[in-house]
């Protein structure tokens, strides 16, 4: 385990040579600041809302890696006062889907900070997020001596075909895609890394019913009190040292957990699916994207009569998708 972690760290150092600083404002970072890490590519249309959502939660500084965008998003980001931006033209897949780059930056800037690692289409929801800033969560986790916080990925989709969710820059994507599957998630324990492996949701139901093992993993541990030696293993699904993966209770109780609302299924999706399938830079050579692309002509509809419409975190708590645990 230790050697695996060291290997990822060494690899991250190596891959750090691919990064070029575009705007480095990390000197602004104060002790205790909450940092957000993200890799992105051609996401310009999503950026304004993404930044404002996380600023509202109380994220203090954004540390971003731009993977060869050509849509002007990089220039927009470089002008933001609380963003530090790196860029790279290297392959996303070769950098373990961006994890290597972020591991390097996390090791360098996040030591001793609470670090949130998300994608541009992921929106972090935790208990009381409508009344308590993310600083409150971090302080509370500190007081409980908890180092990592789990948040399952919840795929959001529109009513009707995905192409019908027309998204415009700056808009809240949940306005156009606010339905989800409430109770079809399955999980098993990963004995080696001790994390839960969660699958299910609309993608398993619609795209992977015939090959469920290949359905995408939904377990995520995005919020971590970072220490230099830590490293994500695969996306933000699991970490090393593996003790950080125990974000679930094993004797019948519930630990506090959140949700990452995954606003991937917008009208931008179809175009992207075919692009990414051709690029084959994603996990398992973009199989997931190929699967989508096969149905591309059909323009997938994920909605069903049993879909739930998103209201707030309390609804997710009641449905049993996340838990307040003992935070009251």
């Amino acid at each position: 385990m230790r050697w695996q972690r060291k290997r990822w760290k060494a690899r991250a150092r190596l891959k750090s040579r691919e990064l070029t600083p575009v705007a480095n404002r990390t000197s602004q970072i104060a002790a205790n600041d909450i940092l957000l890490f993200c890799t992105l590519r051609n996401e310009d249309v999503r950026l304004p809302y993404f930044l404002s959502y996380y600023r509202n939660l109380g994220v203090d500084h954004f540390i971003l890696v731009d993977n060869d965008s050509n849509d002007g998003g990089a220039a927009y980001l470089a002008n933001q006062p609380d963003v530090s931006l790196w860029s790279t033209k290297a392959g996303y897949g070769d950098a373990r889907y961006g994890v290597d780059w972020l591991t390097y930056l996390q090791g360098k800037y996040a030591d001793g900070h609470w670090a949130l690692t998300v994608d541009v289409d992921e929106f972090f929801v935790y208990p009381f997020c409508d009344t308590r800033p993310i600083r409150a969560l971090a302080d509370w986790l500190d007081a409980c001596e908890v180092r990592s916080f789990g948040a399952m990925l919840l795929d959001m989709y529109p009513k009707g075909p995905v192409s019908g969710a027309v998204y415009s820059r700056g808009q809240d994507p949940l306005e156009v895609a606010n339905w989800f599957d409430a109770g079809n998630y399955i999980m098993t324990r990963n004995k080696l890394l001790r994390n839960l492996w969660i699958q299910g949701g609309p993608r398993a139901r619609v795209f992977f019913a015939e090959k469920p093992k290949k359905a995408p993993a939904l377990n995520k541990i995005p919020f971590v009190k970072w220490r230099k030696p830590y490293a994500y293993v695969s996306s933000t699904h699991m970490l090393l040292p593996r003790g950080l993966n125990l974000v679930y209770d094993q004797s019948g109780g519930e630990k506090t957990s959140g949700i990452l609302l995954h606003a991937k299924f917008l009208n931008t999706f179809n175009e992207r699916a075919s692009q990414e399938a051709a690029r084959a830079e994603h996990y398992q050579k973009g199989q997931e994207y190929q699967s989508y692309a096969e149905r591309h002509g059909a323009d997938p509809t994920l909605w069903s009569q049993w879909s739930e419409q998103y209201i707030n975190w309390r609804q997710l708590e009641m449905l049993g998708l996340m838990s307040k645990g003992n935070w009251a």
């Binding site: 019948g252 519930e254 049993g320 998708l321 307040k324």
Partner: protein, 567 residues
């Protein structure tokens, strides 16, 4: 003013300053103790910030470790200084920098004036009340704790183990009975003086220096020696979680705290702007003698502890994934499983659904697809009818199904032709009610009008599978409510069984069974079964059907080793 405040501060100095000013402006003298761990510059800044106030004193600083003696020493020093410097003070209120006063100072002053001789301190005997934290209650007094729980956990644990092993016991100083309670108290001048000036204080202090968490037991024990009238409760509202850490109040607790009528709450999150704007209240809304009422707050925090320790039964999710046999019941609600009923009564599901309010599914674990009650390809919660998706994790398919519809009683048909992965789960689940008519699979085989020789292999296969299932149900690990009867036994008295099923599901709302569902025509079945036997395949699970057998029946055959079945 009738009372003074001892305030212990170690962090969030801006909030602490705010609180000191609140007390002083209300007319109370304050003695501040700042943890010796705070560095000198920060201390000086804080002291300077309060320099304009007359009735604020700073006492000698002690190092305060959680669970250590320092907190008691700090309150002793500060209280002595307060009593010596302000002779008018009748009561001393112990507070921290994170304590948030809710009601105006004058209300607390009036309340204390109305109770001039009362000591407000939570004080419970360790003999009668288990104190939940850390698994140590009486042993806090009988063992020695020279090591810090937070910083030297390894030594702490080993040393406790060693003392337990050697059966070491400390002797309590004479005259003391161990008591514990919340560390936040409000004592009268007389009681506090008596504790501080006690000729035996040296002995007591030496003893309590090695007690674990003495701030929860020092005053709580000594008041029992000196006080005249004890109200065993704290005037400071403080809730603790299952690890003994204080719950924290945020902006969204404002309304709750407003209604509670408590004088002081702890602890407030230092950045909870809304709380600090709403409290302390300047205007009075309560009668001066209004007692605090914390029922709602108690309930909310008790349910939080319960959720953390026991969780929602039957829920498997990202932060609740109990180990095998730690589930507190596998599924979220009772459900019924029927094996063989739909073979005997083809219309059983409709019949049952009509007579109970249960949701009656078909064969959920059929090989071709999931047969939901609705007949749709998707069911509540987004469960798909794909057999492959279901079999990928059959256990969780079932726990999800029950969780999603946990407010209704759900039923499903099961049989040897279905996927069998969940049989152990069914048997072990205390929520499952399992009804089996063994050998009922013979009915559809018989009705297929194929000859015994054609269906022989199929019959053997089904019987083998059912036999395994029955063995599981009869194992010593089975915890479900299980009823097993043979086909022969069932057709003797079907009404009784159906009545029992309806009573179990519908309870007192169940009605008497007046009409049976239409039964499959099984005339000629015994002959068919005999044919099977003649083929060498003994259907021992059907029991002895007595419906005018074509050939006089022999004794019921026991399972025989040569019965052909699939392993």
């Amino acid at each position: 003013m009738s009372f003074g405040v001892v305030m212990l501060v170690h962090t969030a100095f801006d909030r602490a300053e705010q609180m000191v000013r609140h007390w002083v402006y209300g007319g109370c003298p304050v003695v501040v103790h700042v943890d010796a761990k705070v560095d000198q510059p920060a201390y000086d800044v804080f002291k300077q910030a309060l320099g304009d106030l007359e009735n604020v004193l700073f006492c000698q600083r002690h190092r305060c470790e959680w669970g250590g003696w320092g907190l008691v020493a700090a309150s002793q020093t500060a209280a002595t200084l307060l009593l010596d410097s302000f002779p008018d003070v009748r009561h001393v209120y112990l507070a921290s920098g994170a304590c948030l006063p809710l009601r105006p100072v004058t209300e607390l002053a009036d309340y204390l004036k109305a109770h001039p001789d009362t000591d407000f301190i939570e004080s419970a005997t360790t003999a009668d009340v288990p104190w939940p934290v850390g698994g140590l209650d009486r042993e806090r007094f009988t063992l020695m704790f020279p090591f810090s729980w937070k910083k030297q956990r390894w030594l702490f644990d080993r040393f406790v183990k060693l003392q337990q092993l050697l059966r070491y016991r400390r002797k309590m100083p004479e005259g003391l009975v161990p008591h514990m309670g919340s560390q936040w108290w409000c004592l009268t001048r007389q009681t506090l003086r008596a504790i501080l000036d006690d000729p035996k204080r040296g002995i007591y202090d030496r003893f309590f220096k090695l007690v674990w968490i003495p701030d929860e037991s020092y005053y709580q024990t000594l008041v029992r020696v000196h006080a005249t009238r004890i109200e065993s409760r704290s005037l400071t509202l403080a809730k603790f979680d299952f690890q003994g850490k204080p719950h924290i109040f945020y902006d969204d607790h404002t309304a709750l705290l407003m209604r509670s009528g408590c004088f002081v709450a702890r602890k407030a999150w230092p950045h909870a702007e809304g709380l600090y704007q709403s409290f302390p209240r300047q205007t009075t809304e309560f009668l001066p003698n209004q007692e605090p009422n914390t029922a709602t707050i108690d309930r909310i925090f008790a349910s939080a502890v319960d959720r953390r320790l026991r969780g929602r039964h039957g829920l498997f999710m990202q932060s609740r994934f109990p180990n095998r046999d730690r589930e507190n019941g596998l599924a979220a609600a009772p459900y019924s499983v029927f094996q063989g009923f739909d073979d005997v009564f083809p219309d059983f599901a409709t019949w049952l659904a009509k007579r109970t309010e249960a949701q009656v599914h078909g064969h959920l674990f059929a090989r071709d697809r999931v047969h939901f009650a609705s007949g749709d390809t998707i069911d509540r919660g987004g469960l798909s009818d794909s057999a492959r998706l279901r079999d990928y994790n059959a256990r969780m398919f079932l726990t999800n199904l029950i969780w999603n519809g946990r407010e209704t009683h759900q039923c499903f048909q099961f049989g040897p032709a279905d996927a069998q992965d969940i049989r152990w789960m069914l048997a072990k689940d205390t929520q499952a009610r399992i009804w089996v008519i063994s050998g009922a699979w013979a009915v559809p085989l018989f009705l297929s009008r194929r000859s015994a020789s054609e269906v022989r292999a199929e019959a053997a296969r089904l019987q083998g599978i059912e036999h395994k299932f029955l063995n599981v149900l009869r194992s010593s690990h089975a915890r479900a409510r299980i009823q097993i009867m043979t086909l022969a036994e069932f057709v003797e008295a079907p009404t009784d069984v159906l009545q029992a099923i309806i009573d179990e599901i519908a309870g007192h709302r169940g009605s008497a069974v007046t009409e049976l569902p239409e039964m499959a025509n099984i005339a000629g079945l015994p002959a068919f079964l005999q044919d099977l036997k003649n083929q060498g395949m003994h259907p021992f699970l059907t029991g002895q059907l007595s419906d005018k057998p074509a050939i006089p029946a022999r004794r019921q055959a026991a399972p025989k080793p040569y019965v052909i079945g699939r392993k």
